[in-house]
């Protein structure tokens, strides 16, 4: 019996998405850019998917572009908006806790102006606003942080960006499908596999008023050179419709996250539960255990049937720990990152909480760190 608690960016495929994907393989396998009956049928499915995304995001269908995936969306959004504004400047203002793809794209496109965050991971809004000015090509602020769950002040940020006439890119990859993202954005990226879609498609909404200049070789579809996967787009739209229809208020996962935060702090010695305690995503929770090797902890939990993520350096191929945890100034080793899938049960969470203290003690004991 496995318990999957690592749904960020890759949730278990929603049953409705699976069904829609299989149906689209039958009906939408053709190239939607071709004008015969088969191509037109695929085109109809693709257009319907874009309409669904547009409606869910509060955008016009013409403003919704499909891409090969969330990382591609972010790369293209940063590159295309900054290129269109290169006469204004090349500065891209962003908090230190943006997704690595955004930071890399900002560095590639121009001058990345990185703004600090507080211990909870929330952007220093005053510093961010002070940095977004006349020579800024693009302002960036994620809707919420997918690693620690903290929500960002996008409304205040967008008001400033509008006044400064600088487009605001909002990475809503961890939020769409889980919370309302509102209308405080000029460019917004959403990630279908995060809400139960099938990997292979990303959603990028660009307000009609935002100028873009695509980067790269000429192609009929500059946001997805060569076209997108129609079945993946159809599945992503079907999953989004389903999760929005199923969504309860409040999200039952919020109570489970609160329970995890409270129980972990109470039952695991020397643990730091990170992220904002209240203004946060309903399904993401992260904590770090002092003197614990993150890789060993993940392995021990995996052997007991629990799949979790981690931002610790020892769980990645590089020596560097999560840049998000580092920017927050919290412990980076012994990190456990949880994103609850929507069908998680209280029993599964309780079972995880029941084994965690002994697993942490076991991993600490193995390196002789007990009692330090």
């Amino acid at each position: 019996m496995r318990t999957y608690l690592d749904a960020g960016g890759r949730a278990p495929v929603h049953p409705v998405a699976r069904e829609a994907f299989l149906a689209a393989l039958d009906d939408g396998w053709a190239d939607p850019r071709r004008v015969h009956a088969e191509g037109r049928r695929a085109r109809l499915l693709l257009d319907a998917a874009r309409e669904t995304f547009a409606e869910a995001l509060g955008a016009r269908t013409a403003e919704v572009h499909l891409t090969p995936g969330h990382t591609a969306s972010l790369h293209a959004a940063v590159a295309a908006t900054t290129r269109a504004r290169r006469r204004v400047g090349t500065r891209v203002v962003l908090p230190a806790v943006e997704r690595a793809a955004v930071i890399a794209a900002a560095r590639a496109a121009g001058e990345a102006v990185v703004v600090g965050v507080d211990r909870a991971g929330r952007v220093d809004l005053d510093a961010w606003r002070a940095a977004v000015g006349a020579t800024t090509a693009l302002a960036v602020l994620q809707h919420a942080n997918g690693e620690v769950g903290t929500r960002q002040p996008v409304a205040e940020a967008h008001a400033h960006a509008l006044a400064a006439r600088v487009p605001l890119l909002v990475d809503a990859g961890a939020s769409v499908g889980h919370v309302d993202v509102g209308a405080d954005w000029d460019v917004l990226a959403a990630d279908p596999p995060d809400w139960g879609g099938v990997p292979g498609v990303g959603v990028l909404a660009v307000r009609a008023r935002v100028r873009t200049a695509p980067v790269g070789p000429e192609d009929e579809d500059p946001w997805a050179p060569g076209g997108v996967s129609v079945p993946a787009a159809v599945a992503g739209a079907a999953a989004l419709r389903a999760v929005l229809a199923e969504r309860a208020a409040p999200d039952p996962r919020a109570a489970l996250v609160a329970r995890i935060r409270e129980r972990v702090a109470a039952t695991v010695p020397d643990v730091e539960v990170v992220g904002d305690p209240d203004d946060r995503l309903p399904h993401v929770v992260t904590f770090s255990c002092l003197y614990v090797d993150g890789e060993a902890l993940l392995g021990a939990l995996d052997r007991r049937g629990f799949a979790v993520g981690s931002g610790s350096a020892c769980t990645s191929s590089s020596l560097e720990p999560s840049h998000v945890l580092a920017a927050m100034g919290v412990l980076t080793h012994g990190n456990v990152r949880i994103a609850l899938p929507r069908n998680v049960t209280a029993e599964q969470v309780d079972a995880f909480l029941a084994v965690l203290p002994e697993v942490v003690a076991e991993v600490r004991g193995a390196v002789g760190a007990g009692g330090l």
């Binding site: 020397d270 730091e272 770090s288 002092l290 003197y291 614990v292 090797d293 993150g294 610790s312 350096a313 020892c314 020596l319 560097e320 720990p321 945890l325 580092a326 100034g329 919290v330 412990l331 980076t332 080793h333 012994g334 390196v367 002789g368 760190a369 330090l372």
Partner: protein, 102 residues
């Protein structure tokens, strides 16, 4: 090269002379540097200054986080001058001084 811990001489031309123990955690990966430091801190007197030599990038963040959780104070972090070329195998080294809670 790694693992030694005990009173030794000055940090080097760049670093201030330590007033207490030095923990050599060069070449060790997280969480080992913080564990070594915590062991030394456990045996040291309250208010003492412990210096840790480290090369692991995670230690830059985790030593201050550990100090904050334990009520200790990070005094400074400076590059560590290493006279022996053989020590360079682990990349740049740093020395961090921590004043233990009194």
């Amino acid at each position: 090269m790694s693992g030694a811990s005990g009173p030794v001489g000055p940090v080097g031309p760049e670093g201030p002379a330590p007033s207490g123990e030095v923990v050599d955690a060069r070449g060790l990966r997280c969480p080992a540097p913080v564990i070594r430091l915590a062991r030394a801190a456990k045996d040291a007197a309250p208010g003492a200054v412990v210096t840790v030599w480290w090369t692991d990038p995670a230690a830059r963040h985790d030593i201050p986080a550990w100090a904050r959780m334990r009520g200790h104070e990070v005094l400074d972090t400076v590059p560590l001058e290493e006279p022996a070329a053989g020590d360079a195998a682990h990349g740049p080294a740093w020395a961090t001084r921590v004043r233990l809670a009194g």
